[in-house]
Each structure stands twice: as C-alpha cells, then as structure tokens.
C-alpha cells in the first residue's frame, strides 16, 4: 500500500435475532460510538464515513443516505458499498485504500444488517441470474451440496461438523457480542438439531442476526499520535469468480486459494499454519470452515476435518480459528465480514477479553466470502 494504515478503533453493537427496540440508525450508532470510544476520538475528527450492507436482504436500501443520523456522516465525505457477503470487508478495504492514498487521515467504516425484516433467501434467489433462479435454494442449498461432496472426498462425518459447531459455541459463550450463545455441551447436542437441508442441521448453518460493526482507520501519522496499540494493515486481497453452478466445494481451484496464494507470496508467508497466529474466517456452515482450512493452506487438501478432530483450531490450540464464535454464532450479514477484521484486530491488541486466545497473536488473517464465491483477505500485524 502507498502509505501505512492502521485500525485504531473497533466497535460492535448488540447482535441478536431481533432488535425491535432500536431503528437502523440507532443500531449502527451503537457500533459507531463504541468504535469512537475505543479510538478515543470524537466524530469531528472523522473525515469520511462508509456504510456497507446488502441492499434488499433486510428490505433496507440507500444506507448511505438514510443512516447519516446514526453514522455521523453529516456533511462529511464517504460512500456506500454493496457486494454481497463480502461487503463488510470490502467496505473495510475501501477505507484502508482511502487512507493509504493519502487523501484521508481518519475514516470510519460501518457494516450493518437488520435481518428481523425482509426475506434474505427470497432476495438471494431473485439475485441469481435469470436462467438459474428457480434452482437456487438460498445460500444454504449451495453449502449443503458442498458438504455432501466434502463427505465423499474425505473421511469427514457429521460428527466433524458437530465438532466445528461445538467449538463455535464454546467461543461464542465467551463473547458478549455473539448472537447465539447456546451453552452446547457435546456433539450430541448438535446432532439433536433438526435437518434443514441435508446434511446441514439447523446448528450447522449461520443464523440471521441484527447487528452492526464499525472500524476507525487511520494514517500512520495519526495512528501513532492517538493510539497506544494501533493494528497495522499489512496487506489485503480480493478475488472474483465467474457465476458457476458449483459455487462452493468442487474440485476446481476456487477464489480462496488464488487470493491466499497471492497474499502469502507478497508477504513472505511460506507456512501459514506457523506464520499466522490466529484466523477469523467467514464460515457460513460448519462444513465450510473445514474447506477453508484447506483453501487457506493451513492444512493439506482433504485434511481439514483432521484439524477439528485434534482440536488444533480451538481457542487454546496451536492455530486458533474464529475465537469470537464466528459466523455460525453471529451473522448480521453486512457486519459479518467486518467483524472478522475487527475481532482479529482485538486479538492482536490483546483486548478480546474472555475470548482472547491463549497464544501471543502478532499476525492474523481475516476472510470474507460472498455469492458466486468471491474472496476477500485482510492480513493484520502488531508491527510492520
């Protein structure tokens, strides 16, 4: 990047299935105020504000215009992004680029979704290309098909998916900003949940949540002045794919591998399992998390399930993945990919609280994932 960029503030709103007690602007305002307080600045210091969500998923449009009261964008610069599931990370990457360009010193970026409203499955079906739309069963259909393929290609069983879900819940129970904190005791508790779309059980798939996230992004000059613990944006990457019937899973190389390979090469990462201390990945299903272990080269092809079996990716494991509880616990879609970045930044600072991982975290990787399977990656470091 042209100039160094740091995350100096992280904010999260309360995340829940329903937030009828607040409107959209009030909900994002919770995250904005938390991020400003975390950065110890007031809104007057912010030069540009980005708002990011998936239009239509919650029957809400034009967030850049309609949320100015809650976002603090009044008379400020900024823009809105709408990219699908990746939107929270795309909006963050845009903020990094705006600061890296030298045009801005402090940018606030916000991800939000209030899914108590609307019909996200219907919107997703309608968003598919015309010839395909009668065959799209929301996002869940695509992840279910990928799960069937994963079971065939590997020795992974339903129990392995349950182990991933159990880990997510154990971590979420430590995170006051997680939506689902179920207190699951064993993989039998996961097995009891009803099958939504074979082989995905209710608990194997992410919930619909209402919530917001916010990041304060600053230039090196400002970050060093105002922050005791700036988290540096080492690099980021975005890779698109063509619309394809085999969106997730499949035997062909996906955007995840391409993105990871490029990012690792630029940053001298030869062994991601050792060179990266903690991961916050976008896992809409428990099966997808096992796929992502492989796609990001944490482990070899078709061996992701073995990491789960050995507990390597637990909060106190050698390679912690999603200590926040991840997407399986909390999924206000527009905020989801931004939370991956914000949570990773808190891990580097050592400020994640109850869900701080056991090992020292100097480098993290956050991923975003969206329809037609495009991938965003953000590499954060304690020092550059």
């Amino acid at each position: 990047m042209a100039n160094r960029v740091a995350i100096v503030g992280v904010g999260r709103s309360t995340q829940a299935a329903r937030r009828p007690e607040v409107n959209d602007a009030e909900m994002i305002n919770e995250a904005v105020r938390a991020a400003l307080a975390d950065a110890q600045i007031d809104i007057n210091k912010v030069q540009a504000v980005l708002t990011n969500s998936i239009d239509g998923f919650d029957n809400f449009y034009l967030g850049d215009c309609l949320l100015v009261d809650g976002s603090g964008a009044y008379m400020k610069s900024g823009m809105k992004f709408h990219t699908g599931g990746t939107v929270g990370s795309t909006g963050s990457i845009a903020a990094f680029n705006m600061v890296a360009s030298g045009m801005f010193d402090i940018v606030l970026t916000i991800g939000h979704q209030k899914q108590e409203r609307g019909n996200s499955m219907g919107t997703l079906c309608a968003a598919a290309p015309g010839e395909l739309r009668e065959f799209v069963q929301g996002a869940i259909g695509a992840f279910a098909q990928a799960a069937v393929q994963y079971m065939k290609n590997t020795n992974a069983k339903l129990e392995h998916a349950a182990m991933v879900r159990l880990k997510a819940d154990k971590n979420a129970c430590r995170n006051p900003y997680a939506h689902l904190r179920l207190g699951l005791k064993s993989i039998e508790d996961v097995a009891k949940s009803p099958t939504l779309i074979w082989p995905l059980r209710l608990l194997d798939f992410c919930p619909q949540s209402c919530g917001a996230a916010a990041l304060i992004v600053a230039s090196e000059k400002v970050a060093k002045k105002i922050s005791k613990k700036p988290v540096w944006v080492a690099d980021h990457e975005t890779v698109h794919e063509l619309q394809s019937e085999v969106v997730f899973g499949g035997d062909e190389e996906k955007s995840q591998q391409v993105a990871a390979r490029r990012l690792y090469k630029r940053n001298g990462i030869t062994n991601p399992a050792k060179d990266i201390d903690c991961f916050e990945v976008y896992e809409p299903s428990s099966w997808e998390e096992m796929y992502l272990y492989e796609h990001f080269f944490i482990t070899e092809h078709n061996t992701g399930w073995k990491l789960v079996e050995k507990g390597v990716t637990e909060l106190d494991g050698a390679i912690p993945v999603n200590p926040s509880g991840g997407v399986l616990a909390t999924n206000a879609i527009g905020a989801t990919a931004m939370l991956r970045i914000g949570e990773a930044a808190l891990q580097i600072r050592g400020d994640a609280g109850e869900h701080q991982v056991t090992k020292d975290v100097k480098t993290t990787l956050s991923s975003g994932l969206g329809g037609t399977n495009w991938t965003t990656l953000v590499l954060l470091k304690r020092s550059l």
Binding site: N119, G122, P129, E131, G138, G141, Q149, L196, I197
Partner: protein, 160 residues
Amino acid sequence: MAEEKKEEFIGVEFLSKIPYSWSMGPYSGSLFTEMKENKKIWGIRCPKCKKLLFPPEAMCGYCFTEVKDNWEEIGDEGTVVQFTKAGMPIFDIRKGTFAFSERPLANIQFDKGPYIMHWLEEKDLEKLHLGMRVKAVWREQGRGRGYEDIMYFRAIEEKK
C-alpha cells in the same frame, strides 16, 4: 405481586409487489429456443481459450474474448457432482412463497464439461450417490420455460 409490564411494539404492514423482467441476451436466447424447439442443449466454444461456455454469452468470462457464433452441442447426459434435499420450506421464486421442494437438487456436470443445476427424478436420498450418471427428461408439452423445459434428470446406466 405486581404484574410485569410487557414491552409492546406497534407494527405497520406494507405489502407491495415488485415485478420485473430479466433479459437473457441473444446467445442464451438461442439456447432457450433450441431447448424449446429441438430439445437440444448448446454451448459456445471460446475460440481463444477453448473453454466450452454454458450458458452461452457474447463473451468469454475467462479470457475476455468475443466469442461470435462458435456453437457446439453439449448433449443432455452427465454426472452428479453435488446434491442435496431440503427438509425445510425453500423460497419459490416463481410463486413468491415458501414451500417444500419435491425433488433433490443437484449439480450435474455434462460429459463435455459444463455444469447445470437441476432437479433429480429419484426422491430417495439413499438411492443417490455422487458420480451417478443421469440424463435429462424433457417436457413433452408446454416447453418455452428455459431450463424448466427439462423436468428433471433421470438415473441411467453407469459408464463402464
């Protein structure tokens, strides 16, 4: 003991239809015409990178070449590479309502390479497996519905 006051929210309902139409373009338009009139599936071979593009379009998404009329018949047999069956009501885009889907949904790879998402005839999950061979069962009457000119894919004898 005083009764705890329950929080009350006032909800105002707005119900609106948002109709729209989707243009397929001349290439996928020709595909649908061939499906309707001759029960045939066609793709376009990219003259540069040689990928067989399906659904056909005016340009190759992989190498950005303009493809012209380099048509190639794909055939209607293939192999199941992914499948699932919903146990929950799924949104039906045609009706605008949630309903249980009757059949398993599958990703099928045609023998020439491209994939199609479609229904399977066999409803019993126990009788399905990845790698099974299938062939399109065409609608005899009322074609002109795009991919739905095929009713579903039926299991055929495995390749030796």
